[in-house]
């Protein structure tokens, strides 16, 4: 049993290890290790295309994670006090957002937004006083909106689980002591669910940062880091991509460990 487990762990970690190892390769050839060097990290970080794509990915991940945590928390808190058709509709929407494959979400967002923009752009042109009316198009906006959608569903699920595990007596006691609903939220609920919100933010950030398939459809003329890596892979394995991959893996690891620690401390305090 133990030997079997060891083999599975090797299977899980050798590929990642090989990528990390070869990212430190001094030679140009991807298959022979010719000594230790960090030159590919330097090359990757000096490549303007990589830095551009990295910046796009970071901005999109940050803004969409922020929107998802704020709107998702608001929705999760409100859903606690709501029954009937509105609640049922939200449950269904969250379920659909999680169940429908990412690729279908990407396609739907692409043709949905292009259709909506097609309707809005002539109206905008007619209403615009100047000569060059703004054109709505795919890009940062659509990337952020699409990533916010699927990470928001995730945040709602996380926060609702946290709220369900919370002692109701605390909020009841607070309102018995004449706290306003806002006061109760600020002083009782928010501190208790804050670790979950932060964890939701970090998970959303990681999801958005790592997402390829949705971005592939809705990015327009923008390039995110996964899109850059995907198009480079088609041209073959290079040490530079190994270096980028190793950095991406390390960054997601740090974020994930932080999110896990936050979720755990939150649970203990509650």
């Amino acid at each position: 049993m133990r030997i079997y487990a060891t083999f599975v762990y090797l299977f899980l970690y050798i590929p990642i290890g090989v990528i990390a190892l070869f990212s430190f390769n001094a030679g140009r050839h991807a298959s022979q290790f010719q000594g230790f060097s960090v030159q590919w990290y330097g090359k990757a970080l000096a490549n303007p295309f990589v830095m551009d794509a990295l910046q796009t990915s970071l901005v999109v991940a940050f803004v969409s994670a922020l929107c998802a945590s704020v709107f998702g928390t608001m929705a999760a808190v409100a859903l606690q006090g709501i029954r009937g058709p509105v609640r049922a509709a939200f449950d269904l929407l969250i379920y659909v957002a999680v169940m429908v494959p990412g690729i279908v979400i990407g396609i739907a967002t692409l043709i949905g937004l292009v259709t909506i923009f097609g309707q809005l752009n002539p109206i905008l042109a007619a209403l615009w006083p100047g000569a060059a009316p703004p054109q709505l198009a795919m890009g940062y906006g659509s990337l952020i909106a699409a990533h916010t959608l699927f990470t928001m569903a995730l945040v709602i699920i996380i926060i609702r689980a946290r709220l369900a595990g919370m002692d109701r007596a605390l909020t009841e006691a607070s309102s018995d002591l004449y706290a306003t609903p806002m006061g109760t939220f600020r002083q009782v609920t928010l501190p208790l669910i804050f670790p979950a919100i932060l964890a939701g933010f970090l998970l959303s950030f990681t999801f958005s940062f790592d997402d390829f398939i949705i971005a592939f459809f809705v990015a327009g003329s923008e390039t995110t880091l996964p899109i850059y890596v995907f198009s480079s892979i088609r041209r073959g394995v290079t040490p530079e991509i190994n270096a980028i991959g190793t950095m991406v893996l390390a960054a997601s690891l740090i974020l994930l460990v932080t999110a896990q620690v936050l979720l755990r401390t939150g649970r203990r305090r509650g």
Partner: protein
């Protein structure tokens, strides 16, 4: 403001987001799937079933998906189960959490980078070169169904291990002792006690992996080299290369429909198996 009014106000941004980014786009896919292709690509309004009648043109993609998604799920299950069993029943309790985290961590990192790693290992200078050293030459691994299967198992193994582990971990170990005390061999205990009781975990794991595999694009794109393609790859081609939105929408709608049908059928089957198990337990 009333309590209800305040709650609805709090729900408004999320609701608007779901409406504009999910409900309308999905509705557009369904409407487009009954339309026609424009002369320069895109979409022309119409009401025709032509796109659906045309589905056999992408039969290979559906066939690959419907064969490799269940095969990948099964392969992941076969490799994941012994590991989950080891972690839940046999492993040193002090190391259990660490070992479990080590299985799950890769899942939350970029699947793109992790699939890319296998180009390296399966490519001409990777495993085939090693096999060459021991006298097995001319093995081609990359761009074969086998490579795609490896990528699938590698990518989704953690997702399969986790629910099975949770299930086995909660299992009352005294049941296993009772079975042994009553003279059952370890193998018989496993078949008649452990395995049936871990069925819910198996069911959840398979469901999660299967759902993700039905919409897979990256693994076949990276490790299948255009020779092994899924519906996901056909969709990318239809929307981003040939810009045939009407037909692409019909393919996407069919994919979601197939997924719903197979998931529902699967849930029924699991429920029936669960019911049978209770009958056995009652006897």
């Amino acid at each position: 403001m009333t309590q209800r009014g305040r709650n609805l106000l709090l729900l408004a941004p999320a609701g608007a987001w779901f409406l504009v980014m999910l409900v309308i786009p999905l509705a557009v896919v369904i409407i487009f799937s009954f339309g026609e292709r424009g002369p320069a690509g895109g979409y022309v309004p119409a009401f025709t079933l032509e796109q659906y009648a045309n589905l056999p043109a992408r039969w290979a993609a559906f066939k690959n998906t419907l064969m490799l998604a269940p095969a990948g799920t099964l392969a992941s299950l076969l490799i994941a189960y012994p590991l989950a069993y080891y972690l839940a029943v046999r492993a040193d309790p002090r190391w259990k959490t660490v070992l479990l985290v080590l299985v799950i961590v890769p899942f939350w990192t970029s699947i793109l980078i992790r699939s890319y790693a296998w180009i390296f290992l399966l490519g001409g200078r990777g495993i085939p070169a090693l096999l060459d050293l021991i006298g097995i030459d001319n093995v081609r691994l990359i761009n074969t169904p086998f490579a795609v299967l490896i990528g699938i198992v590698y990518g989704y193994l953690p997702l399969m291990v986790f629910p099975i582990f949770v299930n086995l971990d909660r299992l009352d170990k005294r049941l296993l002792e009772a079975s042994a005390d009553l003279g059952a061999s370890p193998w018989r205990t496993f078949l008649q006690v452990t395995l049936p009781m871990s069925l819910p975990g198996i069911a959840t794991g398979c469901l999660l992996v299967f759902i993700l595999l039905m919409g897979e694009f990256l693994i076949p794109a990276i490790l299948g080299g255009g020779k092994v393609f899924f519906v996901g790859n056909a969709l990318v081609d239809l929307f981003l290369q040939s810009r045939n939105w009407a037909f692409g929408s019909a393919v996407a709608a069919t994919l979601v429909l197939l997924m719903l049908v197979s998931v529902t059928a699967y849930m029924r089957l699991i429920r029936r198996l669960g019911a049978q198990r209770e009958d056995v337990a009652l006897m």
